[in-house]
């Protein structure tokens, strides 16, 4: 098997991976970045809204207000030291991007344009703040392309279209790189590194209806799980109430803001029952749960009664065309209908993974050691949506995830740079280090007849949507956990027909499904265990937040499906702690 050596291996070329890579390459470290798709096709390109930083270009602002909003938004599950660090670092992260060539939109004063987003306030919960920096509606695209160009310039080594399969570690638990497969020819390669950074993004593909690119299958999270690292806070998954049913793309709140409303299969405007005052403009979780409840109780629309309708046609063609052009283009493209004439089928859509691989604010992966405090795992880091640092806690604010990937991508790299000074040589790699990965590859090359990967994936994502989506209670979650365990068993008997070596997408999809199943198990098990409602995790049977018992992070391990917990870091770096308060907006 081919073997290559680097100082640092970064798995993932989204904004998080590329920000870390750039910092390291500029410090003269030898850096390899592995990405299963060409780097500029990473999911970061999809981010349109922008990135938060208290620049105060439009209205007065400061990082401490930003910190308050983030802590409150997290429903007090975010770690306050990491949140302080991120909010303080935000302005610099944005100015750095400007320096790297990101073409931010401008105000008339020439300063960076900022827009208002939900959940942002001035003066600790006062008036709306204006904090989100944007490059037109292409912020993610601009960031990703600029970072990629900078990395090429800094001579970062790219393994484009390589699929990372398993992490490599020695007997002492020291991480030494990973085994990847060149998708173009099916050849495995061992990439040896003194430090490894996981930056593989989120796992939106867990749910049938989601807004994420197909690549978002939680590969890094699953690799960490299989290597014995627990996943943190996986029960917290952000949903948006209105995605196009069966497809997932988001229809913004703006559609309901303009006067659109929801109808069930009986033609009833059901939101009046759930939220008599706010109706269709009630908060996201209320609307999401109402839609799921209508469908569960048999009042859905369509042959399978599995969605509801968003009605806009009463607004008149003029308003729809003028005020909602983006939504109209999307619906016409995918459904071949015009929302000015025909209501849009919608269902809650999975959007963002708050949980992930537990890290400290230097990006070091941390695990609990016996009864004592947690300790860094030697040689392993994680940044971005695959990590849980945790700045988003139980609920992420819009515009904070691009910030997260930039700030902690850089912070992790700086920590690695210090580590590399002390560690001049590679540690020896055990002879059997690649065996697990090679066995996995061989397993999918075996001939036979069995279940199809596509069918199992469809069943998994349907089970997750029905049993671990926006409608959660003890029975539903228990059934969900059983369903995922059964699918995990059945995956053992699956085969693929295609054993070619060149760009074998079937084999990649089989390995992606293995990753999805493991992260699904983490998600549903953590949701089943948490008997309270907090942020994005809402339980019908435990509707209140319970700080007495549940102001703590969940940790799920694959071994024996064990749940463990650790305290939230309530103490910021320099300022006073924000104690839990009831979260009202």
């Amino acid at each position: 098997m081919e073997k290559r050596s680097f100082d640092t291996l970064i798995i993932g070329a989204g904004g998080g991976g590329l920000r870390a890579a750039l910092q390291l390459s500029q410090a003269e470290a030898r850096v390899a970045v592995v990405s299963k798709v060409f780097p500029t096709r990473s999911h970061t390109v999809a981010a349109q809204g922008g990135v938060n930083a208290a620049l105060a270009n439009v209205l007065p602002d400061n990082w401490h207000w930003h910190m308050f909003d983030t802590v409150k938004g997290s429903d007090y599950l975010g770690d306050q030291d990491a949140i302080e660090y991120m909010c303080r670092a935000a302005p610099r992260a944005v100015y750095e991007l400007e320096h790297f060539g990101v073409p931010f939109s401008r105000l008339e004063t020439g300063k960076i344009y900022q827009r208002a987003f939900g959940g942002q306030s001035r003066d600790f919960g006062g008036e709306q703040a204006v904090r989100t920096c944007a490059a037109a509606d292409r912020t993610g695209h601009a960031i990703l392309h600029s970072l990629y160009q900078q990395n090429i310039h800094a001579r970062t080594h790219f393994f484009d279209e390589y699929f990372a399969m398993e992490l490599v570690q020695n007997q002492d638990g020291y991480f030494l790189g990973a085994v990847a497969m060149n998708i173009a020819d099916g050849e495995p390669i061992l990439i040896e590194a003194k430090t490894t950074i996981l930056a593989t993004g989120g796992v939106g593909q867990l749910f049938r209806t989601n807004t994420n690119a197909l690549v978002n299958t939680g590969d890094g999270m699953a690799m960490a799980l299989r290597a014995g690292i627990p996943l943190q806070d996986m029960e917290f998954f952000q949903f948006h109430p209105t995605g196009i049913a069966g497809k997932g793309m988001l229809i913004t709140e703006g559609a309901r803001g303009e006067g659109g409303y929801l109808l069930n299969g009986d033609g009833e405007r059901f939101m009046e029952r759930y939220a008599p005052n706010a109706k269709d403009l009630a908060s996201r979780d209320v609307v999401s749960r109402a839609i799921a409840t209508e469908v569960r109780e048999g009042r859905g629309v369509g042959p399978n009664r599995d969605h509801v309708l968003l009605k806009l046609d009463h607004l008149g063609a003029d308003i729809v065309k003028k005020r909602l052009p983006g939504i109209r283009d999307m619906v016409m493209t995918f459904l071949h209908t015009d929302p000015a004439d025909t209501p849009i089928p919608v269902y809650p859509t999975a959007h963002y993974t708050m949980g992930g691989i537990p890290t400290d604010r230097h990006g070091q992966v941390v695990v609990p050691v016996q009864q004592g405090a947690e300790e860094p795992v030697p040689g392993l880091y994680a940044v971005g949506e695959c990590a849980c640092v945790s700045v988003h806690g139980a609920n992420r604010l819009g515009g904070n995830s691009l910030l997260d990937i930039l700030v902690f991508g850089r912070a992790a790299a700086n920590h690695v740079i210090e580590q590399l000074k002390e560690q001049r040589y590679h540690q020896p790699i055990p002879g059997d280090a690649a065996d697990v990965a090679l066995e996995r590859l061989a397993r999918w090359n075996r001939q036979g007849k069995g279940e199809s990967i596509a069918a199992l994936r469809a069943q998994l994502t349907k089970a997750m949507e029905d049993h671990c989506g926006v409608f959660r209670n003890e029975d539903v979650l228990q059934e969900g956990q059983q369903a995922v365990l059964a699918l995990r068993e059945r995956l053992q008997d699956a085969y693929i027909d295609d054993h070619s070596q060149v760009f074998n997408t079937a084999r990649i999809e089989a390995m992606e499904l293995e990753n999805l199943v493991d992260t699904a198990l983490a998600t549903v098990s953590s949701a089943l265990a948490r008997r309270e409602s907090r942020g994005a995790h809402s339980r019908i049977d435990y509707p209140e937040r319970d700080d007495q018992q549940w102001l703590k992070h969940s940790l799920f391990s694959l071994e024996d499906l064990k749940m463990d917990y650790k305290p939230v870091r309530m103490k910021p770096l320099t300022v006073d702690s924000f104690p839990p308060k009831k979260r009202t907006y």
Binding site: R41, H145, A213, L214, D329, M330, F334, F503
Partner: protein, 80 residues
């Protein structure tokens, strides 16, 4: 065959909209393209996601007539 396999992976993008449109096309309309059109499809996939999105959602018309034709075919393949 391996050419199709390569393109199939190249259709994996950073945005769900593009994934769905391109996957439907590579499994459907692509088979009917002649050699020159197939080469053009390969080139089309080299464009950045943000521009492809504008084209495939019908927000901007490409200037090249041949690209317009291809874009229309991909849009037609998006089954409701």
């Amino acid at each position: 065959m391996s050419e199709l396999a390569r393109l199939r992976w190249k259709c994996r993008r950073g945005m769900l909209e593009l994934d769905l449109l391109l996957r439907a096309f590579i499994n459907g309309g692509y088979a009917q393209l002649d050699a020159a059109q197939r080469a053009r499809f390969d080139q089309l996939l080299d464009y950045p996601d943000a521009l492809l999105l504008e084209w495939l959602m019908g927000r901007i018309r490409p200037t090249d007539k041949d690209v317009v034709q291809l874009v229309d075919k991909i849009r037609a393949a998006a089954a409701p």
